[in-house]
Symmetry: D2
Subunit: 354 residues, 4 copies
């Protein structure tokens, strides 16, 4: 009889639970099996359970994890059993048309690089399967602990992408809207790309404090002042070179368009969960002629990028662990999940250890 | 007493007329005076008169013209009296902060490179003044007649910009929404950038015919079929690499977002004249994570670019004159203007000769 | 006993011959077997035999071929037995670090994407094996015959790359040094990217004629005049925006650096076969401060790009077949090879049919 | 009689001296006069005197200075008399063809943006004239002292350009060859662009120490080990993503080509003063097919960029003053010049105060 393992699943819309599943034993020729050692709960896990991506039945949740390789397929040489590895939330095939075009997060179809807890079982389990392992397993340097490395799987990759897409000139100005974990990592990303002025928009004191810790020069509390006016004041009336939207809401998107100067870029790192439309304010968009650019993206994966993110931790450029506000054993994952859903107790990210 | 000249002006919102004004005599140290020889009427002239950019009093209309240099300032060496020149609709200063950033059409402020018939008198006059002439006067090669060269001042520059911003890969697929003069030149631009499949969306037969003449492989009549579905069919279900919006309307903008594949670019070349918002369809935008890019822009100017556009005519790559459906003498400019406003008689562009 | 097939091999440096080898029968999980239908001989095949890449023993030659799929591995879904396919000369894995960085022609190591007739048997055989078939098999549209499609596997991809890397502005000026098959396709590429002035440098009359046929506005015979001076004359003394080196020789490389204007790009599409160094003329390079850029590259592969190249043929943008000066049956491949080596009889490309 | 001022000039090749010249009084319509308050001596000043750019007679030396505006022309509004300003070493016109193309350092001709102490009097004088002042005067924030601000005029702009041109991916690896003042600022630039591993190549202990201070993770002493082998070792055998050449010598250029991985960029920030050719090692360049890129450039100017560089000082991102090893009054400028020429006493940069 197959070995069994514990998993944390979405039973169906609105319902989660712990369930036993067989340990995955066959990596297939191009895959790998990883034994989980640390994971993070993501707000999008809670969206998924509420039905954001439609019905799923008994799918294992979770997409942010590191672990130890258990087995690899015949075509995989990049890692061997026993190696510590980080696996990005997005695991593209790298051979479909969208991947070949360079849009690997859109593997096979729009958002199709997102496979964990979407089209296959996720990582909230004692073991998980990794497709296209040669490209998707990233060895973790010895000096980088799991609890740091696990942030490369989504928060650092997504937040930094927000900054990379924002086209920040060296010494330029950037505004980051919302300072949840993606926004905080976008703040770090803006600093890493050489922004000379970083303005974080956030009202929660703990997040404001972290924003300053991670590099914000100014923090604007939108409950106390109009953030667009404040940003214009801080930039001599011009607006910022680059704005990063890290919430996925009409109010921040609209403010980002208004706050960016002509020729500037609005980089979207948020997930827009509601409404038929996301609306561009026409006049602040220069009636379609302002040279403003709106970019979007989804957590870029692949071991080469992962290696660069891990190097930033290894060489002391970035320490993401101040975002870990809570830690749970895997036995208590339901509590971690509920906490992320309720956003109580000042939670930024709950770490789950195995 | 000052010499007088005839001009065609916007008296105030809703009212146009012919009026006498003094001939501009002093170019200033960095300017030039040009004697007009040919001009085109633009739909945006008709928008201006209806109040799209607010009230103006007795401002000379027109921003698409070529002519002969009458005089130049002390700091100008690029052209001399007697030289035939084309002057782009957009005449930036090239020394303000936005110009130095490379966003010359946003000179000094959003859309601020647009000076003719906006913040200074335009070109529907026997003479007109050109600011920052060293950068804004483009000598016309002998072999290029005025009636061709005049298209470089807006239609070719704007339409080609639509294609240049669209990030079309060599052999890639592009859809151009609307085939008015800007859309037709965007179709030419897509061909010039190496698109392997160009799909024009248009319902007016004369414009459909010109679209094919200028390089469209397929023409989709949106009154007869859903253009997004048709575009998907023509691209194996994927959508196009690049979509160019050349109308400035919600319906075409929205279709462009839907028609473009993940990672593709929507390039806006239209002027959005109405509504508080322009709306992005959230799901087809991949909830903000599709790697789709939305770019905007305003007719790039400057004599270096103008030189390249003129060269494309000179060397037989482009002949824009099939767009000239009507020709009027300057005495009949009111008729030309009315025709452009009514869009009757199959008008594409009315040429005005002096 | 294994089925046998005929192959044309490099026995060792300086020696070629026909030999029987077993038909490849096992595609492996990610590979495919293709039955060859048409192939082209490339000058680099002759270089290989002369020892340019070192010793090889009984390796099947050839890297430009189309054919019909015979079998595919378990992980391959993009093509099925019986499908007509083109396979690029470069067949990357798409999962190594260099591939993940986007430099797929440098798969695993410098130039490592080049596998046919280098690290595995090539295509001058009745059947050949394709690694990483999901990414490397490109279905051929029904309307594109083999003798056209086969040009996408190297000449079109390499020549166009020369133009794509050259950063040609729309309406800009480009010089293409040498009009062998790669240079001719670079000329086509420059036209496809919207160059307004294309200057081809070539002395052989047949190649000069083809250069004009494929889009050159001017042809400069370097045996009769100094090409750099002539290029400067043709560009008002400035030099060209972009220069494409399509020979791989000191003389053309040096001329390209001299002929390009400050800020311009020299795009290398040639193979530099000789010498310890390739030399940059220091002063014409602006003592390292001219903003001139030197790019290099190797025939980009992958079915997405191949699809775009095939579309350019399908939609009538490009017809490469005027380059086919000679046609041979596979039984006469030695004659084809000798002709390519001797460059006699005005040969551009010899086509081999199966 | 005209007011006289003291200047430090190149009398002719090989000879310098102090001389009196009339104070410039007329800025011209687009210029400005600046009273000098601080300046830096540059190694290129010493090259100029030795004849690197040919004969000059009694030209005032110096191109790195800040000061106070004395007067401005009628067309200048960006600064007023009494304003503290920094003026970049490069002062383009912004309206010639090369400027309009975006290559402002190549103003009018190759390297033509370099006007101070080249085609007009430089800044080693009590007053100096600034052409095209609207674009070239950068107001200095109150909180930034002259002795910091003066580094933006060349060292920071040139060194950072080295990093900006190097296409460093976030978390990527960069090697900087030579740690003179430009190299040190390239090291800072690499850190500002998010490099995850910075390797400085330098043998002088004081410069090694500053390299570490400014962000180098590793310092390689080329007198003790082969720098290319060491760089490969530090990058798992791959070579670096980006190499910055900050010396202008064959040995470092060649090492940079060898040290960069396929697809990587060699960014040249040095001035190559000798030899007819600069030589590319052919095999390490992948015989012209390695996707390696060689970029060049010359200190980008303009007040918008200067504003960003000043902001980096203002907001505490960069403090260049540790490079000031010596300070002299203007009366002692000959000593400062001689020190820079001899490179004695551990000099990095000598500051001259007025």
């Amino acid at each position: 009889m197959a070995r069994q393992m514990k998993t944390f699943v979405m039973k169906n819309i609105g319902e989660t639970g712990v369930m036993e599943k067989p340990v995955p034993e066959d990596p297939g020729p191009t895959g790998a099996i990883v034994r989980t050692t640390a994971a993070l709960v993501c707000t999008s896990d809670t969206h998924t359970v509420k039905g954001a991506i439609g019905e799923r039945e008994n799918i294992t949740l979770g997409h942010e994890a590191v672990g130890v390789v258990e087995s690899v397929g015949s075509e995989v040489s990049v890692a061997q059993p026993g190696d510590r590895v980080a696996v990005n939330a997005i695991t593209p095939c790298y051979t479909c048309e969208n991947c070949l075009r360079g849009y690997t997060s859109q593997c096979q179809q729009m958002l199709g690089g997102w496979k964990f807890a979407n089209i296959k079982d996720g990582v909230f389990a004692e073991y998980f399967h990794v497709n296209n392992a040669e490209a998707n397993l990233a060895p973790i340097p010895d000096s980088v602990p799991d609890e740091s490395a696990v942030y490369t799987t989504d928060m650092m990759s997504t937040g930094f992408m927000g900054a990379e897409h924002a086209n920040i000139p060296i010494g330029g100005s950037a505004a980051v809207f919302a300072q949840g974990p993606v926004g905080l990592m976008a703040t770090v990303g803006a600093k890493l790309r050489g922004a000379g002025l970083i303005i974080a928009v956030e009202s929660v004191p703990k997040r404001q404090e972290l924003a300053r810790h991670f590099g914000a020069d100014e923090v604007v509390d939108f409950t106390k002042e109009d953030p667009v006016e404040r940003i214009r004041d801080l930039t001599g009336g011009d607006g910022v070179d680059s704005a990063i939207e890290a919430l996925g809401a009409q109010v921040t998107f609209e403010a980002a368009i208004r706050a960016v100067r002509p020729g500037g870029t609005v980089s979207v790192a948020g997930y827009f969960g509601e409404g038929e439309y996301v609306k561009i304010p026409r006049e602040d968009w220069g009636v379609g002629m302002s040279d403003k650019v709106i970019r979007t993206g989804l957590c870029p994966g692949g071991r080469e990028r992962m290696g660069r993110l891990l190097r930033l931790i290894e060489n002391g450029r970035v320490d993401p662990t101040p975002m870990t506000t809570h830690t749970f054993g895997f036995d208590d994952i339901e509590k971690a999940f509920e906490l992320m859903d309720s956003k109580e107790d000042g939670v930024i990210k709950p770490l789950v250890t195995f």
